[in-house]
């Protein structure tokens, strides 16, 4: 019988992709194990041919700075059974949301760029836009906390190793 795999997507919005790097560093030890247990359906950092459908767990890194990104995030939510916020930028917007705290002088200085690139007045966290199921804290994300969440869903979705 073919073993069932956990179908995941890895998405990043406005951030430095530090948690993406930690995820990829975790592959140093886990690549072959994960290959048997996980179907990475969407991860721009690893592949061009991506599918945004039928995702069991979406991992979302980064803060939301435009309406276009908010829309994309809602589409991800619609196509994923579970959604996990990854790292500080996704959870509370920081440090990408530093501009929310700027004084009037600094806000004035960046105003033309906010308008040119259609950024929203404030930077928002992932949970400001869509309901979330879990979070992995840290800047970058904590490795063991991520593994705990991943293993929880591997179990929950009835995935067996090959």
């Amino acid at each position: 019988m073919k073993s069932k795999k956990l179908k995941i997507g890895w998405f990043s919005f406005t951030c430095c992709e530090d948690s993406t790097m930690v995820w990829i560093e975790l592959m140093n030890e886990n690549f072959f194990k994960w290959k048997d247990m996980i179907d990475i359906r969407h991860a721009r950092v690893l592949k061009k041919r991506n599918k945004l459908s039928g995702i069991d767990v979406a991992f979302v890194e980064g803060a939301i700075t435009t309406e276009q990104d908010a829309k994309k995030l809602r589409t991800i939510r619609k196509n994923s059974k579970k959604l996990v916020m990854i790292g500080s930028c996704a959870i509370n917007g920081m440090p990408a949301a530093q501009r929310n705290t700027f004084n009037d002088e600094l806000k004035k200085e960046i105003e033309f760029l906010i308008i040119r690139f259609k950024q929203t007045p404030n930077v928002r966290s992932v949970k400001d836009i869509v309901p979330v199921d879990d979070e992995v804290q840290g800047c970058p994300m904590d490795e063991s906390a991520f593994l705990a969440v991943l293993n929880k869903y591997i179990k929950e979705f009835g995935v067996s190793s090959a």
């Binding site: 990043s12 406005t14 951030c15 430095c16 992709e17 530090d18 948690s19 993406t20 790097m21 930690v22 990829i24 560093e25 592959m27 140093n28 030890e29 690549f31 072959f32 290959k35 990475i40 721009r44 950092v45 690893l46 592949k47 061009k48 041919r49 991506n50 700075t65 435009t66 990104d69 440090p95 990408a96 530093q98 501009r99 700027f102 600094l106 200085e109 960046i110 760029l113 040119r116 690139f117 950024q119 800047c139 970058p140």
Partner: protein, 435 residues
């Protein structure tokens, strides 16, 4: 208008090539190419990472903790930002770190180079060479190669962890010192690990040497050149014979506003140029580690090179150099707790300059008498390569106009990846000095 379909291009026609979300790079970007009368009319590389306005955010922040903040500009080369920012603060306040601190900095840069180049070469570029979309698509017969790739990457990661605390947003490196000194057992283990992957690094050099990818460009290669190929403390050299001191670099750069991109591009002395591993190798291969020179002579003989794809080969050679240089430093030094002068933040202005994995990284900081940042200017490698990348894509498309669209797109993506761009870095916001 001729629609650019997936068939041979019709000479004399027009059309667009649009690639959204270029994959297997750090961060997000789109490419927009217009073709008119059978020739490329324009190429727009649109860095779509939203600006995070670091240049504004750092103002008024305590200079002593600034490196921790600016390391968050980039996930993959955060140690480069951390190191360069620390150097800028130290230069601004006139603080000289101890030899041991400078040595630990070199080692943390070597660890970053091994890990970061491994990410780019093996996870982003290698699938292209084997006709795969992703490292996830290799079959069982290639498991051994993939195992070796991850072993090298893991060694870089572990080197950064032991020396700097972690590979991403390192915790031991501070302005003026390292808060933790590696112990002997950790160092011995690292040396064994470095030696165990050395042969693998040579195998990968052969793959990138013999891959046959070629796009020659008459561009100017620019790099910070150091006596021991250690990525910090040197002079800026270009392939046209200029030699510049670090604190004059800014005078040679010209900002190029690209209204469609979230990042400002740069020219060097008014012309396009390229920074990165290929520039370092073109200008400084004589200073590679002796063991590397001995075992990589077949591959270093390809330099100086005008072939942009040789940036990948240069990175593969640098992986071996960083392994060899790290082994030597770790084996020939005993690291110990040392007394260092306390860092006193005072008013001043300073430059930080290092070679990051993707090329020359420049920091200029102005600190007030309250110990807080008055002004900062940060220029990252991808901004400096942006003009060169667009021109290279233009030449590539013009030379391949008779090929099917899907093939042209694939060739473009391979070329963009060869530059190893980092969109997160590029889209921090720079306040441009108009002149």
């Amino acid at each position: 208008m001729h629609r650019f379909e997936d068939s041979a291009y019709e000479p004399g026609g027009g059309g667009h090539i649009r690639i959204n979300n270029i994959s297997k790079t750090e961060g997000h970007s789109n490419l927009d190419i217009r073709i008119k009368n059978g020739k490329v009319d324009y190429v727009k590389l649109k860095i779509t990472e939203s600006k995070r306005f670091y240049t504004q955010a750092i103002r008024g922040k305590p200079a002593i903790s600034l490196p921790l903040m600016t390391s968050r500009i980039c996930g993959t080369c955060s140690i480069a930002h951390l190191t360069c920012c620390s150097e800028a603060v130290e230069n601004a306040i006139g603080f000289e770190p101890t030899d041991q601190t400078l040595m630990l900095r070199k080692l943390s840069l070597y660890g970053m180079m091994i890990r970061d180049h491994a990410l780019h070469l093996y996870l982003f570029c290698l699938p292209d060479l084997f006709g795969k979309d992703s490292i996830l698509d290799f079959d069982k017969s290639q498991d051994d190669m993939i195992r070796k790739a991850f072993a090298i990457k893991s060694t870089g990661n572990n080197l950064s962890k032991v020396i700097a605390g972690r590979a991403v947003h390192a915790t031991f490196a501070e302005v003026g010192k390292f808060s933790h000194i590696p112990d002997k057992a950790e160092v011995d283990k690292l040396v064994k690990e470095l030696k165990s992957v050395r042969g693998y690094a040579i195998e990968f050099m052969e793959i990138f040497y013999s891959c046959g990818l070629n796009l020659e460009r008459d561009t100017n290669f620019v790099s910070l050149v150091t006596d021991d190929y250690s990525f910090s403390k040197g002079k800026i050299i270009d392939s046209r014979g200029s030699c510049i001191l670090e604190d004059r670099y800014w005078d040679y750069l010209n900002a190029v506003i690209m209204p469609y991109s979230q990042a400002v591009g740069y020219k060097f002395e008014g012309q396009e140029f390229m920074v990165g591993a290929i520039s370092r190798m073109n200008l400084n291969k004589d200073n590679l580690h002796g063991e590397t020179k001995a075992d990589a002579s077949k591959y270093t003989s390809a330099f100086p090179s005008k072939n942009i794809f040789h940036n990948n080969l240069a990175q593969a050679i640098e992986v071996l150099h960083c392994i060899d240089a790290s082994i030597e430093l770790l084996e020939s030094n005993d690291f110990k707790e040392e007394h260092s002068d306390s860092v006193v933040i005072k008013e001043g202005q300073g430059i930080g300059m290092i070679e990051a994995p993707r090329g020359t990284l420049y920091y200029m900081l102005s600190i007030g008498n309250d110990g807080k940042v008055k002004y900062g200017n940060i220029i990252v490698p991808t901004q400096q390569n942006q003009v060169c990348m667009e021109k290279s894509v233009l030449e590539l498309v013009n030379a391949n106009m008779d090929k099917p669209k899907s093939q042209i797109e694939f060739e473009i993506e391979k070329l963009i990846r060869a530059y190893d761009p980092c969109m997160s870095c590029a889209s921090h916001f720079l306040k441009v000095k108009w002149r």
